[in-house]
């Protein structure tokens, strides 16, 4: 199994959800997040005093998938998240040792 994590622009959430559903993903977790990449946030001005706001709002989407689907699913997320502008985010996948469905106790791919 793999955990795919995407930290992306909040307004792309709907497109990503739809793309994941079309792919057949059963469930996902979404968290509000903040962070910055190379663009380093933005500047705000209050009565002439400038403030650099480093951390900009993002959402973090997490999906557990079977190994065979992982590469393809990363591409699906990237495609749905892309606007072509700076700050589009990152997507990565990492191996997962165990997954358990809490209700039934099923383990491994059956728990997805």
């Amino acid at each position: 199994m793999k955990l795919i994590t995407a930290v992306v622009k909040p307004h792309r959430l709907d497109e990503i959800k739809e793309a994941l559903q079309a792919f057949g993903v059963q469930g996902l977790t979404v968290t509000e997040a903040s962070g910055y990449g190379r663009q380093r946030g933005h500047t705000e001005v209050y009565r002439g005093a400038e403030y650099t706001v480093d951390l900009v709002p993002k959402i973090r989407i997490e999906v557990l998938v079977e190994d065979d689907d992982a590469e393809q699913l990363v591409d699906v997320v990237v495609k749905a998240a892309r606007t072509g502008k700076i700050g589009d985010g990152k997507v990565w996948s990492v191996p997962v040792e165990t997954a358990v469905r809490v209700r039934t106790g099923e383990r491994g791919p059956d728990a997805l």
Partner: protein, 455 residues
């Protein structure tokens, strides 16, 4: 009134219309103080929101009581040496008849006292914006009481009281540019020179936490200011109040636009805080001058004040004094600009015969205005610094550095403004303060609970 019957000009009668108008104006001015609280409250960080609100709100309590006890007497009692007033009838507001009219006007003394009370309340509250985040609440309360007594009441007498030196000199201060705004702005400067900067000034970000709150506050101020200015003619039967109302609107609009234009050119954006600040700068500037200038003059006064105040608020970073919310930059500068512009733009046809430089009056009125501005500024600055020093040496002005960094709301008020906690709240009620069944019924309640479980 039937034709043929006239009332002698030197014996005014109580006017129900003017009395009603002035009571409404007083209520409008009262609303400015909570408005100011929101204006300031939105500009501070989350951790000091409530303290900022309370510093304005407490003035409604303290100054009201002092005003009744002796404030009205010092400000508007019989003159003593052109410096302060005192009339024993006014002590406790106890020797005043219901129908007794304020000398020369058609409203009762009580109405005048109530209207002026609202001015006395908001003026010390204005100072608090400079002291955000760092002053003990007890120290602030003591300072308000001392400052109102030593500075506000006498200065109000100078400017508005019969026999007060500025009044006699002919300084024009229609609704409080000198007595309220220069007075509060200079006091703010005096106090911050004593108490020093916030921890992290110029290093930590100190962004306003809620610009909608700032906007709400500015809007309430703007609304209440109509009472402040239009009411200052103490009646409504010759059009001056209406003129003042119009000028208030015009100057405020011009100042907001000027501030925004300056910001757009200088910083690249039209900001919400700029719009709110520009509006307040315009309101401040038209306060002394609105009864003397034409509507076109009001546009000039507003635009000049908006521009100069927008430029002035950056000075605190240059000079290194921490006027947290720009009380000096907006109220002192705006008040000085508005008061001095009377000397340029007074038309001589509205409130007083005095004409400004641009209307053929020469430098005479400008000189009088400068004298009023200079004297109030100097007295308030020095007296306020001394009072702050006095409070600091006795009970201490500032909270500890730890408390300041942790947030003044929690340590001074045992509250926080917003509940941002997720995951169940993270707080548990203390049993002592939670209403529940009385102790003797506890066993019964437990039995009933068991019964329900059995079923």
């Amino acid at each position: 009134m039937p034709p043929g019957i006239t009332i002698a000009a030197d014996a005014p009668q109580l006017s129900a219309a003017n009395t009603g108008f002035m009571l409404i104006c007083s209520a409008l001015v009262m609303l400015m103080t909570p408005g100011l609280a929101f204006f300031y409250g939105g500009m501070v960080r989350v951790k000091s929101t409530l303290n900022m609100l309370m510093m304005s709100f407490i003035s409604l309590g303290i100054v009201t009581i002092l005003w009744v006890l002796y404030g009205f007497s010092i400000a508007f009692g019989t003159d003593h040496g052109s410096l302060f007033g005192w009339s024993s009838d006014y002590v406790g507001l106890s020797g005043i008849g219901l129908n007794e009219l304020w000398d020369g006007y058609t409203i009762p003394v009580y109405v005048f006292a109530v209207f002026q009370l609202m001015f006395a309340i908001i003026t010390p509250a204005l100072i608090s914006g400079a002291l955000a985040d760092r002053v003990k609440f007890t120290a602030w309360a003591l300072f308000v009481a001392l400052w109102a007594t030593v500075v506000y009441f006498p200065v109000a007498h100078w400017v508005w009281g019969a026999g007060g030196w500025a009044f006699e000199l002919g300084v024009i201060d229609f609704a409080g540019g000198t007595a309220v705004h220069i007075n509060a702005g200079a006091a703010a400067l005096g106090v911050i020179l004593v108490i020093g900067k916030r921890v992290g000034f110029k290093k930590d970000p100190m962004r306003p936490h809620s610009l909608p709150l700032v906007m709400l506050g500015a809007a309430l101020l703007w609304f209440g200011w109509f009472g402040f200015n239009a009411g200052s003619w103490l009646g409504n039967d010759d059009g001056v109040g209406a003129m003042m109302f119009l000028n208030t609107q015009v100057a405020t609009a011009a100042a907001m636009l000027a501030w925004l234009a300056y910001e757009k050119i200088r910083h690249g954006a039209f900001t919400t805080l700029g719009a709110a600040s520009g509006a307040v700068a315009g309101l401040v500037a038209i306060t002394p001058s609105g009864g003397s200038v034409s509507p076109l003059g009001a546009i000039a006064v507003g635009a000049i004040a908006g521009l100069l105040c927008a430029m002035a608020v950056g000075l605190k970073f240059k000079f290194g004094y921490d006027d947290s919310l720009d009380v000096v930059g907006v109220h002192l500068v705006g008040g000085v600009v508005g008061s001095l512009l009377v000397g340029f733009f007074a038309t001589g046809g509205v409130q007083s015969d005095a004409k400004g430089l641009f209307y053929g009056g020469g430098l005479d009125q400008l000189g009088k205005q400068a004298a009023g501005v200079g004297a109030v500024l100097a007295y308030s600055l020095i007296a306020s610094a001394i009072l702050a020093l006095l409070v600091d040496k006795t009970i201490g002005m500032r909270v500890s550095e730890d408390e300041e960094v942790g947030g003044i709301d929690q340590v001074q008020h045992a509250e926080t403004a917003y509940d941002f906690s997720g995951a169940g709240g993270g707080t548990a009620p203390r049993t002592a303060s939670v209403p529940g069944p009385p102790a003797q019924d506890a066993g019964k309640a437990a039995n009933e609970k068991n019964k329900r479980v059995d079923v």
